[in-house]
Symmetry: C2
Subunit: 279 residues, 2 copies
Amino acid sequence: MTARDREELLNDRYGDQPKPKQMIWNDHVERLLAHRSVRNFLSEPLPEGALETLVAAAQSASASSNLHQWSVVAVSDPEIKAQLAELSYSGSVGSKATYINEAPVVLLWVADTSRNHEISTNGGGSTEVYDYLDAFLMASIDTALAAQNAATAAESIGLGVCFLGVMRNQSAKVAELIGLPKYAYVTFGMCIGIPDPVRPSGVRPRPRQDVVLHHNSYNSERPTGWLEDYEKAFLQFRELLGMKQKTWAGSVRFATTMPYMDGRENLRDAVEERGYLLR
Amino acid sequence: MTARDREELLNDRYGDQPKPKQMIWNDHVERLLAHRSVRNFLSEPLPEGALETLVAAAQSASASSNLHQWSVVAVSDPEIKAQLAELSYSGSVGSKATYINEAPVVLLWVADTSRNHEISTNGGGSTEVYDYLDAFLMASIDTALAAQNAATAAESIGLGVCFLGVMRNQSAKVAELIGLPKYAYVTFGMCIGIPDPVRPSGVRPRPRQDVVLHHNSYNSERPTGWLEDYEKAFLQFRELLGMKQKTWAGSVRFATTMPYMDGRENLRDAVEERGYLLR
């Protein structure tokens, strides 16, 4: 990649906001910075070996106490995908994630302590930790670390991905659909496939680094003008993609209202049903 | 990398267990598979630009609804690091993570909805979603996705990392130490630095892929002999590194008892105090 290409990557990511003054560039960093979510796929299946490659990358992520607390269900059956698309939306606002049908494979990333629960139970041991929030959170975090590695591996072999938080909107039904045992829940999904070159997606801008990066302690005074600067970058991105104009702050305000949740307000009940008491 | 090197990567990751039959290799996949946690560091500071590079990579990860719900506090002050090392252990079992002091920088990854809470509050809007489990979980997941990208970027520029789940053992005190506002909590930490070549670490083996990978629905019947096979790989790894012999199932059984939690049983109270009601 040329210096100009790298500058372009930073322009895509930060727009006209202040950019990192010094970067250490290599192929890996370039690849990570070039990420964009993909929702438009060709109908071709995944290349041979792709799934194994993604899972090997996922398994190579750090694992809390080496406990291996996740699983992944690769859904390629069109009927199950159609049901997942239905379950992506409960009807309050937004719309169904119909691009789930377009993706040749949907990965359902499962925080999965059922294996270890079995091991402890079979050994006559305690399983009390699963009553606590931390056990649920730890498995969820490990699932996310694994999934992000899979996403990076996927993009490196020419695939595109899109995370599906909406797989928690009707969490109980998604778990039932794929036959999850207790002590396991779908943390999120991921569409995966070959990006359709005629319907490309864009790189979404992020706030400038000093909004998220703090030194030695948290600085509650936000950088002057950060929100206005970010709104400009956000607007430019939407213009470029021909999207309806709105402010980022407006979308934040919407995301803190109940209609945004579209069923996710029932997640607590759903995971308790799965065995996690979240004490 | 030669075919032999790649074979070696799979041998490190899976030992004598069945290995993925077909992989799609490239530099990125090799880099991901070569991950190992590093706890022994040189005393040198991070190279110029390293932190900016890691944060740019982290910001490039997918973000739920483009909400930017994390922050990262880079701790390089030796006194604060010493306090974090103290707070890594409440005294039940295990020991302090003294390697925190060795790392030139400890990153504290913060699930941070405080910015958006301010935006909604200032706009006179609702903030009810923060009363629900999903809002807490979503921010935690996004934090993990970002952190994993930072880890990948770090390793690509010759640094080593180690995740610190123990930063949740005394969650309330860690939050206080770095002056976190409400609606923010430290999800985990990450040691980062130049690995000490005279005290290298090993690649931890994982269970064979068919233990974690399912097709179209979850198969509750585990692959025959998977645990015995994994125990062999686990034992070999520990022998190679001159570690005390124990079984993996034994460590799982320990990790499901209360002494393992070492303070993390109080996480629920700590995050409620931070504003997350987890309804």
